[in-house]
Symmetry: C2
Subunit: 211 residues, 2 copies
Amino acid sequence: MGTASTRKAAKKQVSADVRRERLVAAALRVMKRDGIAAATTRAICAEADMPHGAFHYCFRSKQELYAALLSTDINLTLDAAWPAVVPAADPAESIRALFRTYWAAVQEDPETQLVLTELVHLALREPELSELPAWEHRAYHDKVVSHLERFMDEAQLELTVATRVLAEMVISALSGVVSSWLSHRDSAVAMEALDHFAALFATLTRPRRSA
Amino acid sequence: MGTASTRKAAKKQVSADVRRERLVAAALRVMKRDGIAAATTRAICAEADMPHGAFHYCFRSKQELYAALLSTDINLTLDAAWPAVVPAADPAESIRALFRTYWAAVQEDPETQLVLTELVHLALREPELSELPAWEHRAYHDKVVSHLERFMDEAQLELTVATRVLAEMVISALSGVVSSWLSHRDSAVAMEALDHFAALFATLTRPRRSA
DNA sequence: GTCTATACGTGGATAGAC
DNA sequence: GTCTATCCACGTATAGAC
């Protein structure tokens, strides 16, 4: 089998798709550190320890990188909080715990939130990318819906509103709280709002009556 | 007194602060039309029918223009919806009407929402401007608090939570809904979420017992 | 297939002419 | 005080050497 062409190369011949991944990761690092505006092709390549020219045989244009970023890992970090759901006795308690877990993840890595928002706004302006935020939102929405369904199932609860409506409200509330927090950076305020939202959302549930 | 130095000039001597205002207005137009990234000093001057060089004797740097933008009119359009409050019999009804008025304003001029968000994010990255979002949020928060107090007063209601907590929740919910809507552009979904939020917030009020 | 050097356009800011 | 011409740095993209 070949030693330097298609698979793994001898020493420095590292690339094909792996370079793409490295560039995406490097771009994310630069964006988190210095903001999306500072993530130039030069800066990204430098961060990835690649020559500047490497960029354009991995991506046809910078927009392709944006698309790659929006399509991959970012929203994964968002719903990484959901799996650790603890269905407690009290619905309000459960939802509050859920939100607090989510919030802990946000607190731990706020830059990712900022970058995600910046990327979405950038995409909203570029006609070529304008569908990506809608896709991303829909994907996230669907995930929240299924998480909610599982959650309600395990807690033996049912909703008094459509699941998709609650999902939309949850997403809006969470992103709203995050967005406010990015401005004022007062964690206590954010957490307080979050707890109250949890309590309000809990009033939209009721014990499931078994048929 | 002088004809061309300090006050109003003969014909073309229009400038001093008025140029600043024109540039700010032009910048806002460009940003709303083409996004914040397209609002270069050249594009702004062209929009304002000024030579490019005019920019730098009105503003020492571009950041000064950003600061001017964030300090002025933008959030005014946000709370322009609040004054037309109609204190109806049912609290839920009143709050829903309030939110719908706000939403109508957003719908009528969504670009402003986008620009505002973009500006805030830009400011969050620039160390020199990083305090502006906090100020802006605080100013808006205070406005919502006083609006809420007046509203509760007129409707003879009292809150079961601190006013500032509800204000924070209202701001978060509204900005969250707007932010989601910017992605999916489904007005029905946004309005549905808004109505449900109104209903939930109404449960945080109760009739005021006169002492 | 990998990388260097470079082209081309643009952005912010300034020096100096009117 | 107003504006033109220009400087310099940087961004994307490409042609072509290894």
